[in-house]
Assembly symmetry: C2
Homo-oligomer: 308 residues x 2
């Protein structure tokens, strides 16, 4: 039982109404692996960085039990860099800088030691890269989860995105993306259309409004924790995905009932993520903190109505 | 044990992307009383209409067990009329016509037979009218719930609104209104500021994103049911309030635990309301339909995580 995560491993520089970060570690692959590492010590990461990447950041991931053998280090090249500034409501942001660097021609090489993976988390990347990863695995994983973003729903990429969506079990996107991908405003209708593209399950993330998990027959809703302050939303969606698949991999149970729990764990991890810059808060979490946070979710939605 | 509801009793003409209604019965008092009538046969309504009001609409309310003795009929005058058109997303609307008519100088007279009320639902009305109702009750009700809207948060009305908010137990408003009233974007901070104005409990309605119930120490979240189609959102907030206080009045229990159930019942009633024009769907609901809908809420959020 191991979990393979792919995605960007990056440097981010973030401005929020509360301050400005240094150039810190970021990227979808980083957040996914960090979140998953709280559930399983069998997390394996595929990604690419430049010569400028810091050994201390790789060490930090390894200390979390993350296998970074699949993170290629490109000599003479630079790590993907993103810089953005959030607006006052923290729901919208401007991208200030995007330097693709090593990500421009990312070829996701799967180390032989990763071939046993049973759980595959395709973090945000080009649909072509996501598809290549699936094809390079000798055996189809037990569960493939895909995260993506609106950028890949533009005309130039949409057919590739739909092709890879047709190859996975679970898609995880936000409400705006679900509407864009389906052409439907109603999320219930959007979910039906997206599941008709292939995946058996769909997660629609609604940020501060929680997340919906759909199957053919069932809908589950998990709230977001009402937080006094959101400090930095960067990586929250990836962190959610990492907690989601991390819980599934650690319990080896992909039933809908267990996916509901996985959505709660993903939401709990995301609620930590937004409390500090980048993945800072994900570095030193304790099991007690996570348990306490999950208990807050239980308290938030639990009620008793009995019919006889 | 009886429930006193005050608010507008009106004619509405509604346009949505799906069609246009005739001049149909509406108004905050109507929706509240109709929703509450599914929980208690002791609902008493205070309001005012003109000579043009239809006896059949009064009969319909009476058939629901609603006492309309407190609905004044003004000879030679016309009923409050509102007409609006919803945009494609159904979250925003333009008001086309507002004719205050009898509502312009509404003096809320409380019939002597209403003086025993233990539960008071102050539906949307001028803060002055809401305050007058409280003052005219010989004995303070066991629970006073107030609904209001952004219009009364403008400079000309805000001091009056804050005064009446200071006299009630529960305030029920939407997220935009909570932000406007408190000057805080974070709903957790907004809730603290609003409860500091006097009420022990605050409900923040988030439309399709559900509702939050706050006390000093606890937060409860109820989702909205993900609906394939919302047909007409008119009256959903009032219907929620009517279901909320209706459940509390019928169970005579104003604990936080029971308020959580009341929020679920209110949400269930609101989910019916939006399925047809105006209060149409609230006219012929069955107990089975309501029970089935509440079960959908239970299924939507229920999950099991056990810590030992």
């Amino acid at each position: 039982m191991s979990l393979l995560a792919i995605g960007s491993v990056a440097f981010d520089q973030i401005e929020t109404p509360f301050g400005k970060s240094d150039k810190i570690i970021g990227g979808s692959g980083t957040y996914i692996a960090m979140a998953a590492s709280y559930f399983t010590n069998q997390t394996k990461l595929v990604g690419v960085v430049g010569e400028d990447f810091r050994q201390e950041d790789l060490n930090m991931m390894q200390k979390h039990g993350i296998n970074t053998e699949g993170v290629q280090i490109k000599k003479g090249e630079k790590t993907f860099f993103w810089s953005g500034r959030y607006h006052a409501d923290l729901n919208t942001r401007d991208t200030l800088v995007t330097e693709l660097n090593v990500l421009g021609d990312f070829d996701p090489i799967i180390p032989e030691s990763y071939q046993d993976c049973e759980y595959l988390m395709l973090g945000n990347a080009t649909p072509a890269v996501q598809k290549t990863v699936i094809e390079r695995l000798h055996k189809r994983p037990k569960l493939i989860v895909l995260d993506t973003m609106n950028f890949w729903m533009e005309e130039a990429f949409i057919s590739g995105l739909k092709e890879v969506i047709g190859m996975v079990d679970v898609v995880s996107i936000n409400d705006e993306e679900a509407r864009m991908l389906s052409g439907e405003y109603s999320l219930v209708k959007a979910a039906k259309k997206i599941m008709a593209m292939g995946p058996k399950y769909l997660i629609i993330k609604k940020g501060e409004h929680g997340a919906l998990l759909f199957s053919d027959e069932q809908i589950f809703f998990a709230p977001a924790l009402p937080l006094e302050d959101v400090f930095d939303p960067t990586g929250a969606g990836d962190t959610f995905a990492g907690g989601f698949i991390g819980h599934l991999a650690s319990t080896k149970d992909i039933s809908f009932e267990n996916m509901k729990r996985a959505v709660i764990y993903g939401s709990a991890m995301a609620s930590f993520c937004v409390e500090q810059f980048g993945p800072e808060k994900l570095i030193e979490l304790t099991a007690d903190e996570l348990e306490g946070r999950v208990q807050e979710f239980i308290d938030l939605v639990q009620f008793e109505i009995e019919y006889n």
